[in-house]
């Protein structure tokens, strides 16, 4: 067989929201790369000062050589009517901060006064990430009650929820006074993106198990037992995620590119393998089989998501038959054959699932990519104003093929606007024809503004410099910058209209969450969803001996 001509997949197809909204966790995901990076660090619970109801302070840390990271947890009582996952909440069951180093007594006192207040508190450059979480009351209370009576909780109930707590926000990179990224970016252990956010969530998970055990023991010291480790391992941390993530991926174009590029590069390299070892194929098959446990326990009330899950399930049935009957390691370029078949026969949800699974046998391909997934946006901020208008025209025509064809004179094309809410400083989206505030629209209507730029560019003298063009057109400067970025980073732009009437914002969230490594996407509307992180992950004391396929250890 001749060597097939395998290219990178076309950004015009991959960067459509419907495709990005079909991405799944993979070996590239940040939860998994966090565990790989930190598995040989020393884990310690250095303080656990909770009262009998589970309220108080606890500290967990990871240390190696002279470096330590400490999670400080503050658990408090809240009334049921105060418990809300929405960003409008002002109190949470627990609040967390990841401190750089070992906190002093003064640090703990300062943080105790501020961290539970979250957005209205202030932290310092010595803190790295900040978060809060609420109990899943039915799972948590059931676990406490059962354990205090000397029984393990009902696995069925816990599996249905999947976690004891869910976080409602995880902040980093300078928010609320947290350390700016530039202070820590040269530390080798955090080269991968969102690594400290992933650390925070991982340690929060351990806190939830320790807290549930502690309360059960306090309730009934003679009879209480500890949560079975197999049950604990099967629990992750939930998360409620809203629109805040959507502008993030628009505002970090080179970061977005690096994520997608690494995924695409991995796929291209795997498809280009001429020979496949039988162990590699078996490893792939094994992961695929085990992963179905997670798919089968993926429940949601969302019709949109259920359609996608059904598409995934029926696609996998077809795929299994193909794999069984048509694939053998004797065939050259087997992965390319598998991918090509999947592309021609499966819908996006299942196709991207197979792409994720194909990475599993290949540490040697994936590991070198992990450290290329961060980006320094500022390095690409300056507009190359010495270039000519014809350069820009060419970039627009090459990189925004479908966007420059959109007719923005229709109501549907202009339907939504993105704005920042005054009371919570959080991104929102609304209909410009039904709500007020469109005059304060955020610069997230990239497709519309690119089209506007294109219409101006084609009328401009083509040999003029971009500097000359900007003197007369500074209202579209923000998209001139983007166009020059996309020229160098082809996967940096969503190739869809983010203000159109058919926009499904959760597709943007799912893209980001899949790179985090989240599973069990459970949309609660078209604007927010719940997910699970670290389900099946090794417990803190098991990290050193864990393997990377823990994500497939989930049992029903």
């Amino acid at each position: 067989m001749n060597k097939p001509n395998i290219k990178f997949r076309d950004p015009n197809e991959i960067m459509k929201l419907s495709r990005l909204g079909s991405f799944h966790q993979s070996k590239l995901s940040f939860l998994r790369s966090f565990i790989r990076e930190f598995k040989d660090w020393d884990y310690k619970r250095s303080l656990f000062d909770l009262d009998e109801r589970g309220y108080g302070t606890a500290i967990y840390s990871f240390s190696k050589n002279a470096r330590s990271y400490s999670l400080i947890c503050f658990a408090q009582h809240i009334n049921p009517d105060e418990r809300s996952d929405r960003v409008i909440a002002t109190k949470w069951d627990a609040a967390f901060v990841l401190h750089d180093g070992i906190p002093t007594k003064e640090d703990i006192k300062r943080l105790k006064e501020n961290v539970p207040k979250q957005e209205v508190g202030r932290v310092s450059y010595k803190e790295l990430t900040l978060s809060r979480a609420n109990k899943s009351v039915r799972a948590f209370d059931h676990a406490v009650d059962s354990l205090s009576l000397g029984k393990q909780p009902d696995k069925k109930l816990l599996n249905k929820v999947g976690y004891l707590y869910r976080t409602t926000a995880v902040y980093g990179s300078g928010k609320f006074g947290l350390a700016d990224r530039f202070r820590i970016k040269d530390r080798k252990e955090i080269y991968g993106p969102f690594r400290l956010e992933m650390m925070l969530v991982y340690l929060v998970r351990q806190f939830t198990f320790d807290q549930v055990n502690h309360i059960a023991k306090s309730k009934n010291p003679d009879k209480a037992i500890e949560l079975d480790l197999n049950i604990a391992r099967n629990l992750g941390i939930g998360n409620s995620t809203g629109l805040g993530m959507a502008p993030f991926i628009v505002n970090h174009p080179t970061l977005l590119h690096n994520w997608i590029y690494c995924r695409e590069k991995a796929l291209k390299e795997i498809r280009s393998l001429e020979e496949i070892d039988v162990n590699e194929l078996n490893f792939f098959k094994d992961c695929l089989v085990k992963s179905k446990n997670s798919i089968n326990s993926w429940t949601t009330d969302s019709k949109y998501q259920n359609n996608k899950i059904n598409s995934l399930k029926s696609g996998l049935i077809k795929f299994d038959q193909f794999l069984e009957n048509k694939c053998s390691v004797k065939q050259k370029y087997l992965w390319n054959k598998i991918y090509t078949w999947a592309e021609n026969n499966l819908e996006d949800e299942c196709l991207e699932y197979i792409v994720s699974m194909m990475m599993e046998p290949y540490d040697n391909i994936i590991d070198p990519l992990i450290n290329s997934m961060s980006s320094e946006e500022e390095e690409y901020f300056t507009i190359p104003t010495h270039k000519k208008v014809f350069d820009l025209k060419k970039i627009l025509e090459n990189n925004y093929k479908s966007i420059i064809k959109i007719d923005f004179n229709t109501k549907d094309s202009n339907f939504n606007f993105w704005f920042i809410s005054k009371n919570k400083e959080e991104p929102r989206v609304a209909s410009r024809y039904e709500e007020r505030g469109a005059e304060l629209e955020q610069p997230l209507a990239i497709a519309r503004d690119i089209k506007k730029l294109y219409e101006k560019i084609i009328k401009e003298k083509q040999t003029n410099t971009i500097a000359d063009f900007l003197l007369k057109n500074d209202e579209i400067r923000h998209v001139v910058r983007r166009a020059f970025i996309v020229d160098r980073f082809p996967y940096s732009e969503i190739q869809d209209n983010t203000i159109g009437a058919s926009l499904i914002p959760i597709d943007m969230l799912r893209l980001k969450l899949s790179f985090f490594g989240a599973v069990k996407f459970d949309p609660r509307s078209d604007k927010w969803l719940r997910i699970n992180m670290y389900q099946g992950a090794p417990l803190s004391h098991e990290m050193k001996t864990s393997n990377d396929t823990w994500v497939y250890n989930v049992v029903n």
Partner: protein, 201 residues
């Protein structure tokens, strides 16, 4: 203490709210962040300037020439235009701006331009001078006030890349560095670099 990320975001939003386009507001966010990083009073000056233009948004700047006379010059439009045109402006060697409001605000744009063209730039107004080093640092001299509402004249000079020391000073230092070298005898000359005995092969 506010993080640089907060300074960037809030500055960008405040600038947009004051009538600048999103693209220019993005530039202002990065500019003020850099000024504060260099220890110069960016937020202080920007706040006062945005107050000043609240009811009367400044005029944009056209092409920059050797002498730029306006009744009042906006340091932001002026800075952004300078940045955009810096590769052409370098040929002018010296540039003058007249009647510039809040001149400290122009500094970060000149600083970025210094990085782009790879030359140090000297900026002077009143008795103050600023040596701008490739956007890595700004060395200021005689900056008496944290806030300067306006100046009659700003002088900008592109500095040629040349040494800040004499040939004699360099020779002196070089001689000292030679003390780390080993004097080669005949044996070391033939064996030290691992070369063959002849290259006529």
């Amino acid at each position: 203490m506010q993080s640089l990320s907060e300074i960037d975001t809030t500055t960008k939003r405040a600038s947009k709210a004051s009538g600048f386009s999103w693209g220019v507001a993005e530039e202002i966010g990065k500019a003020i962040r850099n000024l504060e990083l260099f220890g110069l009073p960016g937020i202080k000056n920007l706040n006062l300037y945005l107050n000043k233009i609240e009811k009367n948004h400044p005029k944009k700047v056209n092409k920059i020439d050797k002498e730029n006379k306006y009744k009042e010059l906006c340091p932001i439009y002026c800075g952004v235009a300078f940045l955009d045109q810096c590769q052409k402006l370098e040929a002018l060697k010296k540039i003058k701006f007249y009647n510039v409001n809040y001149p400290i605000l122009i500094l970060p744009f000149i600083s970025k331009a210094s990085e782009i063209i790879g030359k140090k730039i000297l900026m002077q107004f009143n008795k103050s001078s600023f040596l701008i080093n490739f956007n890595k640092s700004i060395f200021s001299k005689n900056l008496e006030k944290q806030v300067i509402a306006s100046v009659d004249e700003i002088n900008i000079e592109f500095l040629e890349n040349k040494n800040s020391f004499s040939d004699q000073e360099w020779t002196e230092l070089y001689k000292l560095s030679e003390k780390t070298f080993v004097e080669e005898n005949d044996s070391l000359k033939t064996k030290g670099a691992g070369a063959g005995l002849t290259d006529n092969d």
